[in-house]
Symmetry: C2
Subunit: 189 residues, 2 copies
Amino acid sequence: MHPKLKLYFEERTHISEERLMALAPFFRENTFRKYAFLLREGEVCKYNYFVVSGCLRIFSVNLEGTENTRYFGFEGKFATSFTSLISRQPAFESIQCLEKSTILSIYRDDFYHLVETEPAVNAIYRNILESAYITTQKRIYDLQGADSLQRVKWLLERYPDILSRLSNKIVASYLGITPYTLSRIKAKL
Amino acid sequence: MHPKLKLYFEERTHISEERLMALAPFFRENTFRKYAFLLREGEVCKYNYFVVSGCLRIFSVNLEGTENTRYFGFEGKFATSFTSLISRQPAFESIQCLEKSTILSIYRDDFYHLVETEPAVNAIYRNILESAYITTQKRIYDLQGADSLQRVKWLLERYPDILSRLSNKIVASYLGITPYTLSRIKAKL
DNA sequence: TAAAAATGTTGCGCTATGTCAACGATTTGA
DNA sequence: TCAAATCGTTGACATAGCGCAACATTTTTA
């Protein structure tokens, strides 16, 4: 099993070395080039992804053509369209590499089989859902009603790396402001 | 066990009548008057609530004093500050009745004990987290970048009752617009 | 049930931020 | 490696929606 994934499990749950190793075969490692799509809007999401290195984003495009990014998955994070994975319905969002990335993929049915049969995976899944829930709730509370400056400061406090690591266009689509406004705000900081 | 809660379980999981009945003693029934608080910001949330009748809202107040509502719990829904319940940290949000309400409460430790020991409750909890996650994700996608008119239409499509059942002030705090703007938009619909 | 408090409506001015345009800088891929 | 494409920056302009105020209406509670 990849050491990054092993670490992920060890930090979040108790599981014997032996049973942890039994999980390894379910994860397949791939590398993807920058801008590669792991999922396109309209497809049914069939995998849960674990980012070994690089970075993913999950985003959708609205009717006016504006991109809306809701999640960045950096090294050591899981990322998938849970909405599609859970419901088996076509995703309304896409998953894309923002850098050359090394990714471990676990097939949907394998993943949910493990959630049902391996307590450690059940606990991990619960942990992922709980964290994702808390994060999104906080995001709504913090950003709803906040002006652009507050949004950028919010990002700087929470995820200071993002602003330097990713392009303005991508960051703006995450903050819900235009790249023009973001550019102006950065100039004043 | 209250028939509304029984129905909730039966619609979402398989469990024998007998074991379902064994869960009943963990839930205590109370009625609260309109505007009563079940949780105030800063307190640690100790209960998960199930709404038998009436309506709860979960909201916070930002530094400027603007209220921000993130969830309405109507009849047949669970509602709690999961962030506080999970982390055992003080809540940054409050839970308030918007109508005279009948509520079933289950104590935090009892609830998580059942999550660990009763597969049906584990499944229910997973289901709640999954649904909450999907709902919040969609909310972010749908509302971020949307103007006030789009927000009101979004509400009318998804939760048409809310607009007639709750006050403009409350609805506006859910949509992230001012009551003034909401009033003007309603006049034009 | 009546007084008080809260909420809804609407006019007005202001400001933040979106849109468009032009151009320089950076990135990308053949 | 270099041409083409994308992205960043900045000015000018337009406008959605906020804040305030004043008054009407509804709701609350004593």
